[in-house]
């Protein structure tokens, strides 16, 4: 059976095919959730953000330009919703709430736990590019298009984020020594 592209699935979903919409969901849900989880740093928030993004995307399928890729469009919605929620949480929860948000990374098992905690400690702008680059594998040019930023800005944020993470690793190693 021929595997349909996202564009064809979008067309069929618009025509009312729940199978096509379900296939779109199955393809993109893990990535969308991963972005939401990594950007917000919280599982409960990621559940809501990713679901909300999908609902918005599906409700707006009629306006979607099928010549453009579906994934980046969805991920842009996820990123924007995540940042909106983080901004509002920062305002309403205050610093104590943010500490709690970052603390939730501690449920990750294995050696990557501290690395994810360090990612959660990055500024939201740097966290977003890290997640899109290494969590979803987007090249910097695609990240730039997705976020509406110059490529140079994306490269700069990536470099500074990696620098922050390396510094964090060095400090951790020094502390252990």
């Amino acid at each position: 059976m021929r595997t349909l592209g996202d564009g064809e699935l979008v067309v069929r979903a618009r025509q009312g095919s729940r199978e096509a919409a379900g296939e779109l969901f199955a393809r993109h849900w893990p990535g969308a959730w991963r972005v939401a989880r990594a950007v917000t740093g919280r599982r409960d928030m990621a559940d809501d953000v990713a679901q909300d993004a999908f609902e918005r995307a599906f409700a707006a399928l009629g306006r979607f330009d099928r010549r453009r890729p579906f994934g980046p469009w969805l991920h842009r919605i996820v990123v924007n919703r995540s940042l909106d929620l983080l901004r509002s949480e920062r305002r309403l929860l205050g610093p104590e709430g943010l500490e709690r948000i970052e603390g939730e990374w501690r449920d990750q098992a294995g050696e990557d736990r501290e690395l994810l905690a360090a990612v959660a400690g990055l500024s939201p702008q740097r966290r977003v590019v890290i997640v899109l680059r290494y969590g979803l594998g987007y090249p910097p040019t695609a990240i730039a298009a997705l976020l509406g930023l110059p490529v140079g800005t994306v490269n700069s944020r990536l470099a500074r984020a990696l620098e922050d993470l390396r510094r964090h690793e060095q400090e951790r190693d020094a502390g252990r020594a």
């Binding site: 979903a13 618009r14 025509q15 009312g16 729940r18 919409a21 379900g22 969901f25 199955a26 849900w29 893990p30 959730w33 991963r34 989880r37 990594a38 409960d44 990621a46 559940d47 809501d48 990713a50 679901q51 909300d52 999908f54 609902e55 918005r56 995307a57 599906f58 409700a59 399928l61 009629g62 909106d84 929620l85 901004r87 509002s88 949480e89 305002r91 309403l92 929860l93 205050g94 709430g97 990750q108 050696e111 990557d112 690395l115 994810l116 990612v119 890290i130 997640v131 290494y134 969590g135 594998g137 990696l162 993470l165 390396r166 690793e169």
Partner: protein, 394 residues
């Protein structure tokens, strides 16, 4: 070529995954958000055109026969509706409280209304009911539709198809927006739309069936998410904020914004009350009242009354009488509303046999805790009502 750190990042981020239950729930919600399928055939259009032509011919003939007495049909989706007073009365009517221009009680899918214009409803069917500011209009929910019906005068309303059965609606104080909750097979969903029934916005896919509450400036409203958490949605920017849980309120059952400012009162069925300032970093007030389904009514910008169990508690957030006073009620509080000046209350009181009567009472003053509630008169007997009673005083 990726270095070790980049490889670890790819591995760690790639291992993040959602739970199966969340995935299934999100899948259902996403599929439920799909727009209606586009028509593939022109056949339905032909049928609709033929029906319109027939209706046009017969409508013209009927209009000629009745002297033009039929309501006009406006542009889609607006339709003209008869005013509410034409609904036949099957239940005792409700009395207009002193100083009110309109007063409504809604419970168990029925609505009672009395307006100064003479409009009356007595036990009419409505899954959700809300008066507009100034009680010029009302929105009436039924099946999969929200209708705007004139209250103070005959006028053009709208009919708006919604994605489920409306169970709660809240009109913004400026009248420009309506937030509403619908019940769907996948749970309750929250939308808001313009006050003329146009431009629907999906706000949240999983909410509790609690009536939203608008902030005084009509720019934002609060609602309760499915997990019981209170959220504030900015209707202009489209952003949503979670309200911090500071008082142990886990499952909010009633919310109400103050008539001015950003104070938001939140109450749960365990009697916990949280009054939080959503605009400034003011201290959050935590209170504890009687357990029971709560009802909230602000009587001043910084004074709120919470009705639950067999008591109403008045909380004052500042001033000489800062604190809380409890006044016992003769029966269980099932609904609460305050008059425009805050001096009078309307209370729905549920007796032991389940029957509910609506009474008008004086707002208790501070340091009157030991005095009984002063009742002015009965406004209505609603009969046996199982659910909460929503009272609206305009």
């Amino acid at each position: 070529m990726p270095d070790e750190l980049e490889e670890r990042l790819e591995r760690a981020l790639g291992e993040l995954g959602p739970g199966a239950d969340v995935t299934e729930r999100a899948r259902s919600a996403a599929l439920g958000a799909l727009p209606p399928a586009r028509a593939r055939s022109k056949r339905p259009l032909v049928l609709v055109a033929a029906a319109c032509a027939v209706a046009f011919v017969f409508g013209g003939v009927t209009l000629a026969a009745t002297g033009g007495g039929l309501p006009l049909v406006g542009d889609e989706p607006h339709h003209r509706h008869p005013p509410a007073q034409e609904t036949p009365a099957r239940h005792p009517a409700i009395v207009l409280p002193r100083g009110a221009i309109a007063f409504a009680a809604a419970a168990d899918g029925r609505v009672w209304l009395s307006a100064s214009s003479g409009t009356r409803l007595a036990g009419a069917s409505a899954t959700a009911y809300e008066l507009s500011p100034g009680a010029v209009w009302s929105v009436v929910g039924s099946e999969d539709t929200i209708r705007a019906v004139g209250v103070q005068q005959r006028g053009r309303g709208f009919v708006h198809r919604v994605a489920g059965t409306p169970v709660a609606a809240a009109w913004a104080p400026a009248g420009i927006r309506i937030a509403y909750v619908v019940r769907t097979p996948h749970g309750h969903r929250l939308y808001d739309m313009y006050g003329n029934g146009a431009h629907d916005f999906a706000v949240a896919g999983r909410v509790a069936p609690v009536e939203p509450s608008w902030r005084w400036d009509s720019l934002a409203f609060a609602y309760v998410a499915a997990g019981g958490r209170v959220m504030v949605h900015n209707a202009i920017a489209g952003s949503t904020s979670a309200v911090a849980r500071a008082c142990g309120v886990r499952d909010a059952a009633a919310i109400a914004f103050a008539p001015f400012g950003g104070l938001l009162a939140i109450a749960d069925a365990a009697g916990r009350v949280e009054i939080v300032d959503t605009l400034h970093r003011s201290p959050t007030h935590c209170e504890r009242g009687q357990p029971g389904a709560p009802a909230l009514a602000w009587v001043r910008p910084r004074q709120v009354i919470v009705g639950s169990g067999r008591a109403i508690t008045r909380y004052d957030l500042h001033g000489r009488f800062a604190g809380a006073d409890v006044t016992n009620t003769p029966a269980t509080v099932a609904g609460l509303a305050a008059g425009m000046d805050g001096r009078r209350l309307a209370l729905a009181l549920r007796e032991a046999d389940g029957s509910v009567r609506v009474v008008e009472a004086r707002t208790p003053r501070f340091s009157e805790a030991s005095h009984p509630l002063r009742l002015y008169r009965a406004l209505a007997h609603l009969g046996r009502v199982t659910g909460p009673v929503r009272l609206t005083w305009q």
